[in-house]
C-alpha cells in the first residue's frame, strides 16, 4: 500500500506489539463532534442505503469527471474502433446467418458459423482486456474518491499497472469455469441426455450464486492488494450473510445500465435505419448504421462502464463498513468523530 492503510484487510490477530497510544494533549479547543457522518469523499462513511450506493457512483463521476468519464471515453473509443475495424470484413457472412434456411448450401452455413465464431473470438480478445483495464483503473479511482484522496491519472495508473496481470487472471476465471462447465455438460448430454437437462437447470442458480458471492473480488484485489485466491476469499467473506442485498443492488445496477444503454443508443440506431428491419426484409447492416451505432455504443459505454465499476467498489466499501466496521477504523485514523 502506497497511500495509507485505509483499505488494508483487517488483521484477525490483534498485534501483540501494539501498545495503547499515550494520551497526547489535543488541540486546546477541539471541535465539538458533529451530528452528521464523516464524509471525506463522495459518500458518508457509515453503512449506506441502496440509493446512496447507486447515486454515489453518479456523484463520483461528477466529482472526478477526468479520471472516470475521460479515461473511460478514451478506452471505450479505442476498443470500439478496434472492434469495428476487426469485425467489419466478417459482417457480410454474419448477416447471411439470419437468412439461413433448409435450402442454404452447407458451405454458406459453415462460412456464417465460422464468421460468427471469429466475431465472438475477436470480441473476447479485444473487449475483455480493455474491460479489465478500465474496471481496474476505475476501482482504484473509486477507492480514492471514497477516502477523499487526490486523484491523479498517472498515480492511479502506477497503482493499477502491477495488479493488471492478476486482475486479468481473476477475470479469466469466469469464462474458464463457464467453459469447463459447458464441456462437462456436453459430455454428459452425449452420455445421459435426461440427466444433462436436470444438471443444466440446477447449474443456473448455482452459477448465479457463485457469481454474486465472488463479485467483490475485483475491488478486493485492487484495493487490498490481495492475491487472486485471497481476493476470492475476501469477497466470499464480505458477501456471505448479505447475499440477497448484494444480488439485489447488482441487479438494479444492471437494469440501470441496460436502460441507459438502450436510451442512449436508440436514436443512433433509428437514424442509421436500424428500425427499418422491423418492417422490411432483414438485410446486412449498412456502413452508416455501423458507424452510427458504434458512436452510440461509445457514448453509452463511456457513461455505463464507470457506473458499473464504481457501484461495485462502493458496494465493497459498504460491506466493509457493515461487516468489519471500516468506517469506525477510518474515523479513528482521521482523528475525527465517527457517525
Amino acid at each position: 500500500m502506497t497511500d495509507g492503510p485505509g483499505w488494508a484487510s483487517p488483521d484477525p490477530q490483534p498485534d501483540p506489539q501494539r501498545q495503547p497510544s499515550p494520551a497526547y494533549p489535543q488541540y486546546p479547543s477541539a471541535p465539538p463532534p458533529r451530528a452528521g457522518a464523516l464524509k471525506p469523499g463522495v459518500i458518508p462513511l457509515r453503512p449506506l442505503g441502496v440509493s446512496e450506493i447507486l447515486d454515489g457512483a453518479i456523484s463520483t463521476m461528477r466529482a472526478h469527471p477526468k479520471p472516470t468519464l475521460g479515461v473511460s471515453a478514451i478506452v471505450v473509443l479505442v476498443s470500439e474502433l478496434l472492434l469495428l475495424v476487426a469485425t467489419y470484413p466478417l459482417l457480410d457472412d454474419i448477416g447471411r446467418a439470419s437468412s439461413i434456411t433448409q435450402a442454404t448450401p452447407p458451405e454458406e452455413v459453415l462460412a456464417a458459423f465460422r464468421a460468427t465464431m471469429s466475431y465472438l473470438g475477436i470480441i473476447l480478445v479485444i473487449g475483455l482486456p480493455t474491460l479489465v483495464l478500465l474496471s481496474g483503473f476505475l476501482t482504484v479511482v473509486a477507492g480514492k474518491a471514497v477516502l477523499g484522496q487526490p486523484i491523479g491519472a498517472g498515480e492511479v495508473w502506477s497503482r493499477v499497472r502491477p495488479r493488471l496481470l492478476a486482475l486479468l487472471g481473476l477475470t479469466m476465471v469466469y469464462p474458464a469455469v463457464a467453459l469447463g462447465a459447458s464441456l462437462v455438460l456436453f459430455v454428459l448430454a452425449l452420455a445421459v441426455p435426461p440427466l444433462a437437462v436436470v444438471v443444466a437447470i440446477a447449474l443456473v442458480p448455482l452459477a448465479l450464486w457463485l457469481y454474486v458471492l465472488f463479485s467483490l473480488a475485483t475491488p478486493a484485489l485492487m484495493l487490498e492488494n490481495a492475491r487472486i485466491g485471497a481476493a476470492f476469499g475476501r469477497s466470499r467473506k464480505l458477501v456471505r450473510g448479505s447475499w440477497w442485498r448484494v444480488f439485489g443492488i447488482e441487479l438494479l445496477a444492471l437494469v440501470i445500465t441496460i436502460i441507459l444503454t438502450l436510451i442512449i443508443t436508440a436514436p443512433f440506431a433509428y437514424f442509421g435505419g436500424g428500425f427499418d428491419q422491423v418492417t422490411t426484409e432483414p438485410a446486412p447492416p449498412t456502413v452508416t448504421y455501423l458507424i452510427l451505432t458504434t458512436i452510440g455504443g461509445i457514448i453509452a459505454g463511456t457513461v455505463t462502464r464507470p457506473f458499473v465499476a464504481i457501484v461495485t467498489a462502493l458496494l465493497y466499501t459498504d460491506q466493509r463498513m457493515r461487516r468489519e466496521g471500516m468506517d469506525i477504523e477510518l474515523a479513528r485514523m482521521a482523528g475525527q468523530p465517527p457517525p
Partner: protein, 268 residues
C-alpha cells in the same frame, strides 16, 4: 457536507437524488403509465366500432396527454412531490429552497418532461440523462425550468443503542476517570457496540481490542483482558453517561452577585 441551502442561508441536511435513483423512479412510473395506457386502449378497442374516426383520434390524443402529463402532475401536486416511482425509491421533489412544491411547479415539470426531457423532443430520455449528468444538482430540464430539485428522504437510521452497565463491572467503573475519554472516541465505541452483533467475528475482535487499547490509554488504566473488551467498553461508556447525566441534573451554581429583587429599581 449538505447539498441544499435555503434562501436564508440555512444549510439543509438533505441528500440530492442523482441520475441512478431518479432513473429507477422514472422507469417505475413509465411502467405504471404503460399499464394504464394499455388498459385504456383495450377498453377503447372493445367499444370503438361505432365511433367516428375523427372523434377516435381526438380521444386518443386526449388520453395519451392525460396519462403522460396528467399522471405526474396529479401525483406530484396531491402528494407534494412524490409520484409512485419516487415514493418507491424514497425520493421527493422540492423547491430549490427546500420547500414543498405546488401545482405550478408540478405542471412545469410535467409539461417539460413530456415535450423536452422524455417524449416529444427528448429522444426517449437521452436529453434528461445528459442534462442531469451535466447539472451539478442532477436536474433535468423540467427541474431547471420549475426551480425544483429531487432529494432523497430515506436515509439509513443512525444506530444509537442504549449502553447498559454490565453489573459485574459497576464497582470497577465507578473508580475510573472516564472524563478523560474524548467525545469522538466515545462515539466510536458507541457505534462499535451498536453494531457488535453484525460485525464479522475476526474484524470485530480486532476492532474491539484496538478501541479498548485506545480507551485504556486515555484512562491510564489498561483494560484487564482483551477477550472481554466489549464489556469493559460498555462499562466505561455507561459510567461516562451516568456521570454526565448526574452533572446536568445537579442544580446550577449560583450566578454570582444578585442585582436585586426589583426589576424596576433605578440603575446604580
Amino acid at each position: 457536507m449538505s447539498d441544499l441551502v435555503t434562501g436564508e442561508a440555512v444549510v439543509l441536511d438533505l441528500r440530492l437524488a442523482r441520475l441512478a435513483s431518479r432513473g429507477v423512479a422514472v422507469a417505475i412510473d413509465v411502467l405504471v403509465q404503460a399499464v394504464v395506457l394499455l388498459v385504456v386502449l383495450l377498453l377503447f378497442l372493445a367499444g370503438a366500432g361505432s365511433v367516428d374516426p375523427a372523434l377516435r383520434a381526438a380521444i386518443g390524443v386526449v388520453v395519451v396527454a392525460a396519462v403522460l402529463v396528467g399522471y405526474p402532475v396529479l401525483f406530484e401536486t396531491l402528494s407534494r412531490g412524490r409520484s409512485p416511482g419516487k415514493a418507491a425509491l424514497g425520493l421527493r421533489v422540492v423547491r430549490d429552497d427546500g420547500g414543498p412544491i405546488r401545482f405550478r411547479q408540478a405542471l412545469v415539470r410535467g409539461l417539460t418532461g413530456f415535450f423536452v426531457d422524455f417524449w416529444v423532443f427528448g429522444l426517449l430520455g437521452s436529453v434528461a440523462i445528459f442534462v442531469s449528468l451535466a447539472s451539478a444538482k442532477g436536474k433535468r430540464v423540467g427541474d431547471l425550468l420549475a426551480g425544483t430539485v429531487v432529494v432523497a428522504e430515506r436515509i439509513p437510521a443512525a444506530e444509537t443503542p442504549a449502553v447498559t452497565m454490565p453489573p459485574a463491572l459497576a464497582g470497577w467503573a465507578s473508580g475510573l476517570d472516564v472524563a478523560a475519554v474524548p467525545d469522538d472516541l466515545a462515539l466510536a465505541v458507541r457505534q462499535y457496540l451498536g453494531r457488535y452483533h453484525r460485525l464479522d467475528p475476526a474484524a470485530r475482535d480486532a476492532l474491539g481490542a484496538r478501541l479498548a487499547a485506545e480507551v485504556g490509554g486515555h484512562l491510564g488504566v489498561p483494560l484487564p483482558s482483551e477477550a472481554w473488551a466489549p464489556h469493559y467498553l460498555a462499562a466505561v461508556l455507561a459510567e461516562r453517561r451516568a456521570r454526565e447525566r448526574a452533572r446536568h441534573a445537579a442544580p446550577p451554581p449560583p450566578a454570582g452577585e444578585s442585582t436585586g429583587d426589583d426589576p424596576f429599581a433605578p440603575p446604580r
